[in-house]
């Protein structure tokens, strides 16, 4: 059905992602069952547009601009000089050094580029300057169109108190609470009692969880008042607070709205964004399993009412908290394109960036509410360069030594701004891409997501594929039983990767053993006719010992034509594959079950790590003989690295801030090494007393040289 409308969805597997291929990777919906997203070449639009952003969203905007025939200007920091968005744009200008405050937030430099390149409009993407009213104002004053709402709407929605008042006046359900500024702790307690516990105390100017406290009684309210006002003052320079009812265990569901400058506004259905970690969304989908048509319409209509009340134009998002009884409460409105907009595009067939540009140019909307469909189901996973085993994701940096998007899987869309060889740096958001799958129903979309995640090759940095895959196959998620507390509830002790069932463990062992044997067999195959003939091995069975986790498993492999027959735990499994040992992806069929696995690494010692069902497992495979002899190998104690500080690179010691006997606390700077003209602060890995200092300022040190020892 709707799938037919997606042209070259997925596209071919790009080997060389030059910008031409990048563009063909992601082809927008060009026709739709109910209406078409038309890129009318005769419709007058901007000639040149500047994208005040980087990464995937900059690429996303450029793609639509190309379809609309708009020339694009990219801005970039010096470290982004080779970034994908820079290559894709018609022009690119450096706006400063790596730190965002000096580049992507550097309004002076960006205004200068706009003047120089004569860009007529600016798309801010999300983040950075997208909700900065000062930026919008400066653009307006120079006659440059800001692709977004008016300054008035940005301002009104940027303030929590004001936006809540506005919402209330527009008859939007708001969380019961106090709308004014709370004077002191006593007043806070009085208000809290009126509303009824639990209550949430939050900074009026806040965001991102800062200055937010939940209070369950009077005492906590007083305490919360004090903390929140301090935090608000230091974080936002504004200690105004508000108090509202705390909705326990809510869902986060948001409505996409689209409004023009002629008073028309539409709601483009909802997005379910409840799967979050540390208030950041991880998995989103549209539509939500939770909403019935009535609730959806009620939410949509209220969202539109709010948009109209602030004379909103452009695309915007009205966020709601929805409790278990489907009561919904206005949370806030985001006056920009959201990260998760692709799921809405998938089910409605609209190109939101195109609509934003059209609206900014002054065109009225082409659709009516009745035109907006829900076609199929779309799921988005945010693929991050981060380690999911540490508080559901701590950023990781590095070079993408291998990178291949799963575009050969049907109905997959990948929005990314990186390519093989790109650096994930400390300066910017560690998002690698947004992986979106689409299906005629939710089960189909999720099945494809599973496949897409298995087929996604990311090497060189840690990534959260394992967590994403676990979430989307979790029974609670599959049933739609989710809330914003999903992750901490499901993984109270932190995420530990996929837990193998007995069958899955056997499948992994069988696959790893077969892979080992395939490799062994290949290493006996030499081409040409050697002077001394090669002794052909007549061996057809191998007795192996595989170390996985805490267990050591005897595995017997015998070759059976092109497949392997593997005996694990007294169970025989048949493993077939093409055994292409160079491909990062390996399709293996184990007793009829197809699995796509990735061999992340291997070495001569039999150690290998295999990504299986999303999680990377470390194994060691030895022949039975070697495994038996390995009991004689000496156990080597790992060096306790927390009490010693070694130079991570060769360089010069610029300063040493401690001397023997000093107490240092974890994270405290111990010395500074300059290398490659960069100063690197070496910090203590634990709290303790300095035992010895092995370097002084001016010394030249090599990599791994001992600098400081702690007791």
């Amino acid at each position: 059905m709707a799938v037919a409308g997606f042209l070259r969805w997925g596209g071919r597997r790009a080997r060389l992602p030059g910008w031409e291929t990048l563009c063909s990777r992601w082809c927008l919906i060009t026709s739709h069952k109910l209406y078409s997203t038309v890129y009318d070449p005769n419709e007058k639009t901007f000639e040149k547009l500047l994208i005040a952003n980087r990464g995937e969203i900059a690429c996303r905007v450029i793609k639509t601009c190309k379809k609309m025939g708009i020339k694009t200007v990219a801005i970039h920091s010096d470290v982004d000089a080779n970034a994908v968005h820079v290559k894709m744009a018609d022009e690119a200008v450096c706006v400063g050094p790596a730190p965002t405050s000096k580049s992507y937030l550097n309004m002076d430099a960006i205004m200068e580029v706009i003047r120089k390149t004569r860009a007529q409009a600016v798309h801010p993407g999300y983040g950075f300057l997208s909700e900065n009213k000062e930026f919008a104002r400066r653009l307006a004053s120079e006659g440059v169109t800001f692709i977004g709402p008016d300054t008035h709407a940005i301002q009104a929605m940027g303030d929590k108190i004001e936006s809540k008042l506005l919402a209330k006046n527009a008859k939007v359900n708001t969380i019961p609470g106090f709308d004014g500024v709370v004077k002191d702790a006593d007043e806070a307690v009085r208000i809290a009692r009126e509303i009824g516990y639990p209550v949430m105390i939050k900074a009026s100017a806040g965001g991102g969880g800062k200055g937010m406290r939940i209070a369950w009684d009077d005492e906590e309210t007083r305490e919360g008042f004090r903390f929140s006002s301090q935090e608000a003052a230091s974080s936002f320079g504004d200690d105004r607070l508000l108090i509202e009812k705390f909705i326990d265990n809510p869902r986060h569901i948001e409505i996409q709205v689209l409004a023009d400058k002629h008073g028309n506004a539409l709601w483009l259905n909802e997005r379910e964004c409840s799967i979050q970690r540390r208030n950041q969304k991880v998995v989103e989908e549209a539509p939500s399993t939770f909403l019935d048509p009535e609730t959806r319409r009620a939410m949509g209509e209220q969202a539109v009412a709010l948009a109209k009340a602030v004379k909103y134009s452009s695309a915007g998002t009205v966020e709601f908290l929805v409790d278990s009884s489907k009561n919904f409460y206005f949370l806030e409105m985001n006056t920009r394109l959201q990260v998760e907009h692709p799921v809405t595009e998938c089910i409605t067939g609209l190109d939101l960036v195109q609509e934003m540009i059209r609206v900014a140019k002054g065109y009225p909307l082409r659709h009516t509410q009745a035109d907006i469909p829900i076609n199929g189901w779309a799921v988005e996973c945010r693929v991050y360069a981060e380690d999911p085993y540490k508080s559901f994701g701590l950023p990781s940096i590095g070079k993408l030594s291998q990178y291949q998007e799963p575009l050969h899987v049907p109905n997959v869309r990948v929005d990314s701004g990186i390519q093989q060889g790109s650096d994930i740096s400390i300066y910017y958001d560690p998002m690698i891409s947004k992986l979106i799958t689409y299906g005629s129903n939710r089960a189909e979309a999720l099945k494809r997501m599973e496949e897409a995640l298995d087929n996604y090759v990311i090497r060189g940095v840690a990534h959260n594929i394992s967590l994403l895959r676990e979430v989307i196959i979790h029974p609670r998620f599959v049933q739609g039983d989710i809330s914003t507390k999903f992750l901490p509830e499901v993984y109270p002790d932190g995420f530990k990767g996929h837990k193998l069932t007995d069958l899955e463990r056997r499948q992994l062992l069988a696959t790893a053993a077969s892979l080992y044997v395939a490799e062994q067999l290949r290493s006996q195959r030499f081409l040409g006719t050697p002077r001394i003939p090669i002794a052909k091995s007549k061996r057809s069975s191998w007795e192996l010992s595989v170390h996985l986790g805490d267990g050591i498993y005897p595995v017997a492999v015998s070759k059976d034509g092109s497949s392997f027959s593997v005996e694990v735990d007294g169970m025989k499994l048949n493993v077939t594959s093409e055994w292409n040992l160079a491909s990062p992806l390996l399709s293996v069929t184990i007793d009829g079950t197809q699995r796509t696995i990735q061999r992340i690494s291997r070495n001569a010692s039999g150690e290998t790590s295999i990504q299986f069902l999303g999680t990377v497992y470390k194994l060691q495979i030895l022949t039975k003989v070697a495994a038996e002899l390995s009991k004689y190998m000496p156990e080597k104690a790992a060096e306790d690295t927390s009490s010693i500080l070694r130079s991570p690179m060769p360089g010069t010691v610029v300063a040493v801030s401690v001397k023997p006997g000093d107490m240092v606390s974890e994270g405290q700077e111990i010395c500074v090494i300059e290398a490659m003209k960069m100063q690197n602060s070496m910090i203590a890995a634990k709290t303790g007393k300095v035992k010895a200092v092995h370097c002084k300022a001016g010394d030249t040190v090599g990599e791994e040289d001992l600098l400081v020892e702690l007791e």
Binding site: G421, Q524, R525, F526, L581, A626, K636
Partner: protein, 496 residues
Amino acid sequence: MAAVRVLRRAVRLCRGRAASGARPPPVPQRIEEKRRAALLGGGQARIDAQHKRGKLTARERILLLLDPDSFDEYDMFVEHRCTDFGMDSSKNKYPGDSVVTGRGRINGRLAYVFSQDFTVFGGSLSGAHAQKICKIMDQAAMVGAPVIGLNDSGGARIQEGVESLAGYADIFLRNVLCSGVIPQISLIMGPCAGGAVYSPALTDFTFMVKDTSYLFITGPDVVKSVTNEDVTQEQLGGAKTHTAVSGVAHRAFENDIDALLNLREFFNYLPLSNRDPAPVCECHDPSDRLVPELDTIVPSESTKAYDMLDIIHSIVDEREFFEIMPTYARNIVVGFARMNGRTVGIVGNQPKVASGCLDINSSVKGARFVRFCDAFNIPLITFVDVPGFLPGTAQEYGGIIRHGAKLLFAFAEATVPKITVITRKGAVQIIFRGKEANAEEEYVDKFANPFPAAMRGFVDDIIQPSTTRTRICHDLDVLASKSQSSPWKKHANIPL
């Protein structure tokens, strides 16, 4: 010969009967007994002691190194001939003596092996021991197959005196004669001291096992008495010292098993002799694979560092690179890889370490590797990004001119296919020390780009970085039939 043997046996039989009246066991049984004794080496107690030290026995090592059931042993019945100091008593005789020798297969390919047996007189080298080693070396040279030595020996057999020392001389001579004819690999798996160190030093590659192997001319006790230095075995001659400081060893491995498995993998890169071409393995990595990251990996600023290993991994087959001397003179990277299945030797400046400059150690490291590749028909691929030679008194006094010349000599002498990829550029900043900024700028404009060299034909082509792999694979195919001869000479005179 056979007649004499029969006669002797008859005599012995008569004597035996006359003396004890009991019948000695029949010959097949005696063979079996000797064989069993040989397999036990120095006996179970010593085997257990060897295991306790975290080491495998000589035979266990051979078992792991060679393909299953492929070992054909030589000289299992050889015994030492020493009669002094009570050595001729039967309890001091071990069939096979303190070394196991033979031939076998590694992934089907022929290799000759000796494995010193520490359980027999601490693996000490007797005349018989040396003779056994010499025998397989002679055979290996005649057949044209590599020799792998697994060293675990306390040194010379003191009881034998000059006999033992002469044995070393015989081995050294063969090491030298075989040099450049067949690859010789030494894996140090226990002590190796005094004169014994020179056999590994004469071979092509010396690998060590961490924590259980030592190489030194004189041990800590002698050092203490002569120079009054306090030093441990590990500091003096452990794996870390030789792989990071002295450059004596080419690589170190975690334990015996790790070392032997790695040796098997390493062996697959080598041709069997100088008569054989570099081996070509079955390869699944497409030769025309583009490497897009190469277009961005090298920073445009000439002073900014990057990791040459990233470049090497991305270009070679399946990202597999067997690095030689990875922790010594790290400003140059050398090692083996494959291109479309064929073994190649890779040499690259490492901008990440000391800006990739050339100094004494890196020149010597590079030169030795290049000469090995040239001797054994392994094509060379060189990735150049060098600011020049390291300046300073330490380098000049150390003889950088002489040592740097080795690298030039080795490259110029090499007749194997040589492909050089210049990833960035060279020595401009050194010529102009920032004083004459204008002149430097002019110079950069003029020469710090590929055009002048390309226009003069000094470089053959300027290629898109992402196509490097494809281009190298094609060139190697063409160059496979390269033949180049040098003028007749006894041997060249490399500036040692």
